[in-house]
């Protein structure tokens, strides 16, 4: 097993070195420092480790200090690149000296997980989901839920919604999707990293906190990152996509949804209510200042982005992140090649 893996890695690095070898020779060692989002942190950690094999001359330090911090440090110019899972606003982008590029690297699905003993394959319509998370639907046997789950033994007990206590990209992805499909949700709760939930919801810190609340509390329902829901063994509900089909979260259905997204010229895509696939998905971006002080760093950043959006994308699958569609990746690489100096 180990040998096989080693063999594969060697092949990989041999291929990579032969491709980039010519450029490599001209370089001194470069250290890139980046900071920002916590959501892609496991993925970036893996990228950094794997990229060392292909490009031993580039060292990348990534600190997951939160998206807000990533944006601030990018504006302040204290890092070579930032990362955020809420794309920068126009106002924030204007503050970066020399301009900034937003480069999507990965996406993630958010599962609606629940703890309802005896009920499997729960299907929730947009109306039911919005009703639950605005506090309007309070019992499991509510007609709005029963309608789409004929034959399921829905109890008359109270629904206990569990949400994130901390400001998080996961909350943003979920509330952003809900706001897109339900005007009632949009006006009562709104799309935010810290949405204004009705009182009485269980609140946990981080994905582990919400997952623990869900496991401890029968009758609870909440949202957690897909990978986390999968590994915690929580049941996930199917939700309605743009076509009205009920889709369960999986890497495949999330990738289908992303393939459907129209990325604008600045790659800022927010309203992902795709017709196909699993609809509750979001993206995470690298924030790359166009003007780099050090030409070696500019080169290194181009190489890093190219590697992440080509060879790196295979690790997205391993870690249950969605991949960036190849056509979008090619556009992003071109934007960095011509834009960063």
């Amino acid at each position: 097993m180990l040998l096989k893996k080693f063999g594969r890695l060697t092949t990989l690095s041999v291929v990579a070195v032969s491709v980039f070898g010519t450029q490599l020779a001209a370089w001194a060692n470069v250290t890139l420092s980046g900071a920002g989002a916590t959501f892609p942190q496991p993925l970036y950690e893996r990228y950094v480790r794997e990229m060392r094999k292909a490009h031993p001359d580039i060292k990348v330090n990534y600190q997951s200090i939160g998206s807000g911090g990533g944006i601030k440090q990018t504006i302040a110019g204290t890092v070579d690149f930032g990362a955020s899972d809420a794309a920068m606003t126009d106002g924030e982008m204007a503050k970066v000296k020399g301009g900034v590029l937003l480069i999507p690297t990965a996406g993630g699905a958010v599962s609606v997980a629940y703890n309802l003993p005896g009920v499997k394959n729960l299907k929730l319509s947009n109306a039911a989901l919005a009703g639950i998370f605005t506090g309007k639907i309070t019992t499991w046997n509510d007609p709005a839920i029963a309608q789409t789950n004929k034959g399921a033994a829905l109890p008359s007990s109270a629904i206990k919604p569990a949400v994130r206590a901390d400001g998080s990209g996961t909350s943003f992805i979920f509330s952003n999707h809900m706001s897109a499909v339900s005007p009632a949700f949009k006006s009562a709760v709104g799309a935010s990293k810290e949405p204004k939930w009705p009182s009485g919801f269980l609140k946990g810190k981080g994905n582990p906190g919400v997952a623990a609340s869900l496991k401890q509390t029968p009758g609870s329902i909440g949202y957690v990152e897909y990978d986390f829901a999968l590994k915690s063994g929580l049941s996930s509900a199917s939700v309605q996509n743009g076509r009205g089909q009920y889709v369960a979260p999986s890497l495949k259905t999330a990738n289908q949804a992303l393939a459907d997204v129209q990325f604008p010229a600045n790659f800022r895509a927010f309203d992902i209510n795709s017709a196909q696939g699993y609809p509750i998905v979001g993206l995470t971006w690298l924030l790359i200042p166009k003007t780099q002080k050090d030409p070696n760093k500019a080169k290194a950043i181009k190489t890093m982005v190219k590697w992440m959006l080509t060879s790196g994308q295979q690790f997205n699958d391993d870690l249950n992140y969605t991949s960036i569609p190849a056509s979008v990746a090619a556009r992003a690489i071109a934007a960095v090649e011509s834009g960063v100096k």
């Binding site: 807000g68 990209g169 949405p195 009485g200 609140k203």
Partner: protein
Amino acid sequence: MPTPITNNLARRNRHSKPDRADRLFRYLIYAASGVSVGILLLMGWTITGHALPAIKQFGWGFLAGRDWNVPDLKFGALPLIYGTLGSGLISLIFAVPVGLAVAIITSEDLLPKWLRSTVAFTIELLAAVPSVVFGLWGFYTLIPILLPIQQLLHAKFKHIPLFSTEPSGSGLLTAGILLAIMILPTVAAVSREVLLVVPTYLRTGSMALGSTRWETIFRVVLPKAFSGIVGGVMLALGRALGETMAVTMVIGNTENISPSIFAPAYSIPAILANTFAEAQEDIHVGALTYLVLILFAITLFVNIGAISLVKLVEGGEK
């Protein structure tokens, strides 16, 4: 052998300038205290700078505002002040009696010495447990223990506002109890030290006048040790007010003011830990740093209150 030593000292004094080392030492001390005060001032200055947008926009109204609404960028600190003080107060209600009892038991000769030192040592070991471990333990172990008790109290005494909310496990009471366990070693250890240094002649005198042991403890030893005990309790309260990780895991993290101790609440350190990293807008960061200033002020008032209390009691004794 005392003679040579004296000679040595005398010789050294004669040969060096008598106060050079002295002066150097004094400067060192000044520098050390200057640095610690300087760091505090620097922190205060930076924090105030960041808080300025929020101070300008909300003013004193921030203290009374009950709404913490991030999407609309409207902020009020009252629920957080309430959660911070409430959980701290509950922790004292539990920790002070238990901590004092431990201190009395381990400082009197009621139990064999080996047992006393074992108890004292075990309690002090609690202080070495990292707060995140307390938090996890609180979430996975303490909540399942407390929840049935809370549910029973709620079922029987629903009409009393204190128990009026249906308990979900996390809440003000749970946070207070967890904090009480965390600050217990501080209360116990400091009180024990203070009780141990109460002069023996006071005890023997009291006993000689015919007091029982309990009369001696409650009328002579404890009053004598009062100021030291208050000091220890304040130190403990300081820790409780500033505790972050453990509280975050069990307080419920909901900006809420409720008469019920079962209701979820939110404390200032907890909201900082949860939301500071992802706070983006200047006014949001400002509101969070404004909270830091409020926490500073609360700690300051607690300390001033403690000093006044000690002065008042000591003044009354004379």
